[in-house]
């Protein structure tokens, strides 16, 4: 008897985004089931160290901050690839999300009145906090931001957020099915009805049938051989969407490399190290970033710092090691007290994995795969543009507030903001007649049977391919040919070889370990097939995009080309027999941009501008000047340039109070 479980909302992934959706729909009266590979508290959200961006403007160095500044930082950071309305929705709701989390128990680090010494640009400075700020949530500096906006709990921010969120989910009696892996979406007539899942402990297949389905499975960093990501960030959510043949992925080639992962294991040390005053040094102990980026130095945007580090190592300035070249991260100047209070995880990581004391020793670092800006392409409501009833949020999605480069501190912030908004849109959908489940049980069973047969085929195949070999090759190709700097020849080779690996992956055999219950070899086999598919979307998208934008940097096309490439890459896989994905493009219209494309302020301005940019800039300037002279406030000006509030759920439309901005 096949097992079928019905629920209102199926949520795949139990990290911050998934749990926030679950509690949100619950508040609106809908049931959900959360499927997770691991206990929710062990999701990759827990690994976010440095913080969450929200323009609270509580601390001295955050004074004057507001949604407008956060918006402008985010759009510049994205190299104008982001959806500006979505980014507006996000910056408007980030302060609400953080206050909600404070209410649920996150012990955010707080402002302390009086004088503090801090390190800015390698110099000791004194910052004086105001009396009235005392006890409010404080913030630290992060790359690519005009203000100190990144709120934190020491360097365990993601951990504290996730624990509070999971505890809130427990309070709300959210049903969590642990160690259940979604392996296929159930869909019919352009409508998603849940998923087939495999119990990783006993091998049982279960059909979850739902009105709405949400994929919140995080990124796909593990298609690279070295990544800061948890080992479960394998792109399975993106693959599930892709395999429907209907849902699409956006900007898969937009991959972020974090400047400071330790060598060789690729574990992250937070951007907070540099935000708090840490420096990057080369083999001679020389601080090189000011030479490349005189203004922002170590705190330029992540993509920029990673490229500059790579350039510097290419000049022979890297430190030689048996694991290749690296550079040094120096946080010694912050002092032991600061490190032991605000950078504790970093200290533990240094002790345990490198055997060094970062208060005394330099930390070996180099840029490492870190974040997937791309993902399941959605509308601003988080719903797939092409498969009704399928939603996605967090790193799994391309919502798209990050464009081609995400700012540090905007990822955990996105998870909770998107989760809280998309929970409302899903609830609206569940309240509507369209959400009725009309799929016949017989058809659900067909989806079960297909998966059952696929697993059997893997277990019974003989003389097939070794999944590990294919996977390792894929990881190496991605590292070597689809990395920080890219070029047409390498990308072509990468695509060709990945296509070959993809064909071979259809013939994978699970050697020796034939158990139908808990069986890591079987899991590796079917995940490898899907990972190669995801890798192909990344490599192929990168090959086709003949420009440099944000983290996508083509040596053969160094200019950002708004004329031809101000668009989103849309990838699909309609036919199971195709061996290369289908790629189309979605225009990013300049005509409604609040912040028309401009210069990010790093290096030389190589932008090839679009013909509409100038016209739009003139309109924006004219409106702004006129409204300002009429005495309009910033909200009125913003609303005239690019209205977005009506897109938000009513309960989140209110203005945010700040010390200097009463409501």
């Amino acid at each position: 008897m096949p097992k079928i479980i019905y629920t209102d909302v199926l949520i795949i992934g139990g990290g911050l985004a998934g749990l926030r959706v679950a509690t949100g729909v619950k508040e609106r009266g809908f049931d959900s089931v959360v499927l997770t590979l691991v206990p929710p508290k062990r999701s990759h959200s827990a690994a976010a160290q440095g913080g969450m961006q929200a323009s609270l403007a509580n601390s001295k160095m955050g004074e004057g901050d507001n949604e407008d500044v956060h918006f402008s930082d985010t759009i510049k950071g994205s190299d104008w690839g982001a959806d500006q309305e979505v980014a507006r929705m996000f910056v408007h709701c980030a302060p609400k999300a953080i206050r909600e989390l404070a209410h649920w128990g996150v012990p955010w680090s707080r402002v302390h009145r009086g004088d503090h010494s801090s390190i800015i640009n390698a110099k000791k400075v004194t910052i004086t906090e105001k009396d009235e700020s005392h006890g409010l949530i404080t913030a630290r500096d992060f790359g690519g931001t005009k203000k100190w906006r990144t709120c934190y709990t020491s360097d365990g921010t993601g951990h504290s957020m996730l624990f509070a969120m999971d505890n809130k989910a427990k309070q709300d009696n959210i049903e969590v099915h642990e160690r259940l892996e979604a392996i296929s979406l159930i869909h019919e007539n352009g409508r998603c009805y849940g998923a087939i899942a495999r119990n990783l402990m006993n091998g049982e297949l279960v059909a979850y049938v739902s009105k709405a389905t949400t994929i919140a499975t995080g990124g796909y960093g593990r298609i690279y051989s070295v990544s800061t990501n948890a080992i479960i960030c394998q792109g399975m959510g993106q693959a599930l969407a892709l395999e429907t043949g209907i849902a699409t992925l956006g900007n898969m080639e937009a991959i972020q490399f974090h400047p400071t992962a330790i060598v060789p294991v690729g574990i992250l040390t937070t951007e907070g190290c540099r935000g708090d005053g840490g420096l990057l040094l080369d083999k001679d102990g020389y601080r090189f970033m000011p030479d490349y980026e005189p203004e922002k130095k170590e705190l330029a945007s992540r993509d920029v710092v990673s490229r500059r580090m790579t350039e510097h190592m290419r000049k022979g300035k890297g430190v030689k090691s048996r694991y290749g070249d690296h550079l040094w991260l120096d946080i010694r100047i912050l002092g032991r007290d600061h490190i032991e209070k605000n950078l504790r995880e970093v200290k533990e990581i240094c002790e345990n994995f490198l055997g060094i004391d970062p208060a005394v020793d330099l930390i070996p670092v180099r840029p490492t795969q870190h974040y997937s800006m791309g993902g399941i392409r959605t509308t601003y409501k988080g719903e797939s543009q092409t498969l009704k009833g399928l939603y996605s949020c967090g790193e799994a999605a391309c919502w798209d507030m990050h464009g081609f480069n995400r700012l540090g501190g905007n990822s955990v912030s996105e998870t909770v903001v998107a989760g809280m908004l998309i929970a409302e849109y899903i609830s609206d959908f569940c309240e509507s007649e369209q959400s009725a489940i009309s799929i016949h049980t017989g058809n659900v069973e067909k989806f079960l049977k297909i998966q059952h047969d696929k697993l059997e085929a893997l277990l019974t195949k003989e003389n097939g391919e070794d999944a590990y070999k294919l996977r390792r090759r894929m990881e190496t190709i991605m590292m070597e040919k689809v990395g920080i700097f890219r070029n047409g020849d390498d990308l072509k080779e990468a695509v060709d070889e990945l296509e070959e690996l993809y064909k071979r992956s259809k013939n994978i055999e699970v050697f020796r370990s034939k158990s139908r219950a808990a069986n890591p070899a079987l899991v590796n086999a079917y995940r490898t097939q899907r990972m190669i598919k995801v890798a192909l979307t990344v490599a192929y998208g990168a090959y086709l995009r003949k420009e440099s934008r944000g983290a996508h940097s083509r040596e053969d096309y160094p200019k950002r080309d708004d004329k031809n490439w101000l668009k989103r890459t849309i990838t699909s896989w309609e036919d199971e027999n195709q061996t290369i994905p289908t790629v189309t493009y979605e225009d990013i219209p300049i005509s409604n941009m609040e912040l028309p494309p401009g210069f990010r302020g790093y290096g030389k301005d190589l932008t090839q501008h679009h013909e509409d940019t100038k016209a739009r800039q003139t309109i924006v300037d004219t409106i702004t000047t006129k409204l300002q002279s009429d005495g309009a406030n910033r909200f009125e000006i913003q609303n005239t340039l690019m209205p977005f509030l009506n897109k938000l759920p009513k309960k989140y439309q209110g203005k945010n109070e700040r010390l200097g901005e009463k409501i």
Partner: protein
């Protein structure tokens, strides 16, 4: 080259058992692995799975000592495997799953269920009857030092090492363990949680709670996050005792 500098070949002895296989029974199996510079048990176990036995079951997630998934007995002591360097261990390394938790297979345990039940039992969330938060308004203030103190206890990763090292729980299977008591200490400290001492007493004022602890303090010895378990248990006991009088 002197003998000491020679690369070691490690003998990795693993307690194997697949509860889903009716023919299997718990047994030790040894794998020989050439040690490499900077090698951790994460690397060792993955190498075994990839090159020696692809059926070997174990749990890693963050592999950075942050998530608490990979706790196991390493030469008899509960610890996080991912951040254990082989260079700090002898040539013979014995690995076994953490005791007390439901076994999924080999080194993989279902500790998530245990922790989830514990959290529900102790209601480890902010209890605030007034609820209704206006998300537009400034957040409630908190003393910076208090926020730091709460975070200190909030750092628990629910890895289960303290449970595996606990003497009391061997005799009292319903004992909440140091992990549970630490959570109560954390919420008790938090002014946002409005539970009073009587309510806390209901939760841990018995022998499955703070009065069951025999003060053997194996928990404190093995906690990978160096939580102040000893002092927090003592504090809770004093507080609960005062409440009972």
């Amino acid at each position: 080259m002197s003998k000491e500098n020679k690369q070691r070949v490690l003998n990795i002895h693993i307690l194997r058992f697949d509860p889903n296989d009716p023919d299997d029974f718990p047994h030790m199996e040894t794998f020989k692995i050439e040690e490499a510079y900077g090698m951790t048990l994460f690397i060792v176990l993955n190498e075994i799975r990839e090159h020696h036995d692809n059926a070997l079951k174990f749990d890693f997630v963050c592999r950075a000592g942050i998530c608490g998934s990979c706790s196991m007995l390493v030469n008899g002591k509960p610890t996080l495997a991912c951040r254990t360097l082989t260079s700090k261990l002898p040539q013979d390394i014995t690995l076994a799953p953490l005791p007390l938790f439901e076994l999924i297979g080999d080194l993989s345990i279902f500790s998530g269920k245990w922790m989830s039940d514990l959290n529900k039992r102790l209601e480890t969330w902010i209890h605030d009857k007034e609820e209704e938060l206006n998300v537009d308004k400034l957040e409630q203030k908190m003393e910076p030092s208090l926020a730091d103190e709460i975070y200190e206890l909030d750092r628990c990763v629910e890895c289960g090492c303290c449970v595996a090292a606990c003497g009391t729980i061997q005799m009292r299977p319903n004992f909440v363990g140091a992990v549970g008591l630490n959570k109560i200490a954390r919420y008790h400290l938090d002014p946002r949680d409005k539970r009073d001492n009587n309510e806390y007493y209901e939760l841990i004022g018995n022998e499955d709670g703070v009065f069951g602890c025999m003060t053997l303090l194996g928990c404190e010895d093995v906690c990978p996050k160096d939580l102040p378990l000893q002092s927090k248990i003592a504090y809770l006991r004093r507080m609960m005792l005062r409440n009972a009088l």
